[in-house]
């Protein structure tokens, strides 16, 4: 991984017998840049990271150090940890009436599956009584998909044969109140952040429902587009948190690094499998290790 690469770069430099120079630090920065880009870290985050690393490394400490490779590795690890921020997996629950969580994201990112997973996690972790709302009125069999998952978990699924997702969502909250469900999770259609009509639609849902949490569901295998789409959704919506899915793949998941910086919001949960028990609280330190490889 990156740590090994850096050690190699510095071992070579040390082997050449002369003192480590600023030029040598630059060479290690090039190796860092390539490794981070290969891990799908957003270009803007790579630039910020290498700048921060350069400033610290070019200081006296590293140039004079007996083990410059170790010092640079430590600086990289610290900077990545700083970008990911502290763990934050809390849900802002209402004290009166059902708490509303709005799930949004691009097509195929894992929203519908994650709605069910999140209901299960919050029921078990926080003692909630969830209601799932099938507000994706576009995708073929989207409602059937959520109904099947709800049935599997024993949670009610609200749906209405209408064309307007706002109506389904407000109907779901009303139904939750009547049935004593204290949590409503709204599944929505996948949409592109450049689709003006669909972004207007989700903005309308947000305005009508005033959700307590708005969570962006993002595929961990996404490349440079991750920060673009996250930023666009955050500018339209505002987001309270993110959920990174398909982390059971072997993707390095570098997109995670730029998300907090781009949205100011934490990644709260991680999807780590297809089954409904495969949703975890997001661990920033584990993610850092994964990106470094």
């Amino acid at each position: 991984g990156l740590s090994d690469k850096l050690q190699q770069v510095f071992a070579r430099l040390r082997g050449s017998g002369r003192r480590i120079s600023e030029q040598d630090v630059n060479e290690s920065l090039r190796a860092i840049r390539v490794a981070l880009l290969e891990a799908d870290v957003a270009l803007e985050a790579v630039k910020a990271l290498t700048q921060a690393i350069r400033e610290q490394a070019v200081g006296e400490k590293v140039l004079e150090s007996v083990r410059p490779g170790d010092m640079v590795v430590k600086i990289v690890q610290d900077e990545i940890a700083r970008l990911l921020g502290a763990s934050d997996t809390a849900i802002r629950y209402r004290t009166e009436g059902p708490t509303v969580i709005l799930m949004c994201g691009l097509q195929g990112s894992g929203k519908t599956t994650t709605c069910a997973k999140l209901a299960r996690l919050l029921a078990s972790r926080d003692g909630r009584k969830p209601l799932l709302a099938a507000a994706d009125l576009k995708r073929p069999a989207a409602i059937a998909q959520l109904q099947t998952l709800g049935r599997e978990l024993g949670f009610p699924v609200y749906s209405e044969a209408v064309a307007d997702p706002v109506r389904v969502c407000t109907g779901a909250v009303k139904h939750a109140r009547a049935e004593g469900r204290d949590l409503v999770i709204l599944d929505t259609a996948g949409r592109l952040h450049v689709d003006e009509e669909l972004m207007r639609e989700i903005k309308a849902v947000h305005a009508a429902l005033s959700p307590d949490e708005t969570l962006l569901v993002l595929d961990a295998m996404t490349g440079q587009d991750a920060v673009r789409s996250a930023r666009a959704f955050h500018e339209t919506l505002p987001l309270d948190g993110l959920i990174l899915t398909k982390l059971d793949s072997d993707t390095r998941g570098g997109a995670a690094l730029s998300l907090r910086h781009a949205t100011g919001r934490p990644i709260k949960f991680a999807g780590v499998g297809e089954q409904l028990d495969k949703l975890e609280e997001f661990h920033p330190d584990r993610m850092a290790g994964r990106i470094l490889g």
């Binding site: 998909q145 587009d225 398909k246």
Partner: protein, 290 residues
């Protein structure tokens, strides 16, 4: 970027960043810029206009693996162009890929195109695992006037393919489109299940005429791993790049073609029935050049 500018270091750096932003990856982005720089120094390329022309040609060339059929001819393989010998029917086309990449939707849209060309189409609901997968494909069958073979949820996908192949043979169907479950390439058991589908088809006397890897255009560098591992268990014949109507440029296509030799065959450009097209390398390259 290519406005009134000098072909200098600033220009090359900006170009490299544009390629990285398009998911070409740091190595390929660096290579292209380096190549451009050296041709500029040698006098072969002078100025940004010539640079753009060279890049257009070079990038399009990199998308054409040696020996691949031209995309325009790619929608109907030789096996289904008229006249079709009974023995070569049905042409069996598989759609493989990781979760959520757009396989089921691709099957539906390609069924629509084939129907439009007067071909008979049967869909095999090979995803027997995911909630409402069969129901989703059923809707596409209705929308496109295609027949469908579907088993209960939880059944063996190979059994669905077995039955669908027999049904297609009996009906003299031109094309059998096989939808499969999303699967991560690093899951050994799921990849073994994938391999089994082809064995079962072969045992039945059939063979896959086309095996598409369906890939989300926003995928990062992990796409290469996906292609390499899928190819270990499936005789891939091409790639379908979906969701190119987003802001992702699909630049991983270059690394994919280079490292696997597989052609990009179709592009998904939206969610509607008509929104899939034979891959147009020139348009793709133009969208990537800043």
């Amino acid at each position: 970027l290519f406005g009134l500018r000098k072909l200098d270091t600033d220009f090359l750096n900006e170009l490299e960043e544009a390629f990285i932003a398009a998911d070409l990856g740091p190595m390929l982005a660096g290579e292209l810029v380096e190549e451009l720089g050296s041709r500029n120094r040698s006098g072969e390329i002078a100025g940004v206009e010539q640079a753009k022309a060279w890049l257009r040609a070079e990038l399009a060339r990199q998308l054409m693996p040696a020996g691949a059929p031209a995309p325009a001819a790619a929608l109907t393989p030789a096996a289904v162009l008229a006249p079709v010998a009974a023995a070569s029917k049905p042409a069996v086309w598989f759609f493989l890929g990781v979760n959520g990449s757009g396989k089921t939707t691709a099957v539906g849209r390609i069924a629509h195109r084939l129907q439009g060309e007067g071909r008979s189409v049967l869909l095999a609901a090979g995803d027997t695992f995911r909630a409402a997968a069969g129901a989703q494909l059923e809707i596409w069958a209705e929308r496109t006037g295609s027949a469908i073979v579907r088993h209960k949820e939880g059944g063996d996908p190979a059994a669905v393919i077995f039955d669908a192949y027999d049904a297609a043979k009996n009906r003299g169907t031109d094309v059998l489109l096989v939808d499969t479950a999303g699967r991560l390439h690093n899951k050994k058991n799921l990849m073994a299940e994938c391999e089994k589908m082809f064995r079962v088809l072969a045992k039945r006397g059939g063979q896959a005429a086309e095996v598409f890897l369906v890939l989300d255009a926003a995928t990062g560098q992990n796409a290469v791993q996906q292609a390499l591992l899928f190819r270990e268990v499936a005789p891939l014949t091409g790639i379908i790049l979906t969701k190119l109507d987003g802001t992702a440029k699909g630049g991983i296509a270059f690394r994919l073609v280079r490292e696997t030799g597989l052609p990009i065959r179709y592009a998904g450009l939206g969610e509607g029935m008509e929104d899939i097209e034979p891959f147009n390398a020139a348009a793709f390259v133009d969208a990537i050049l800043p």
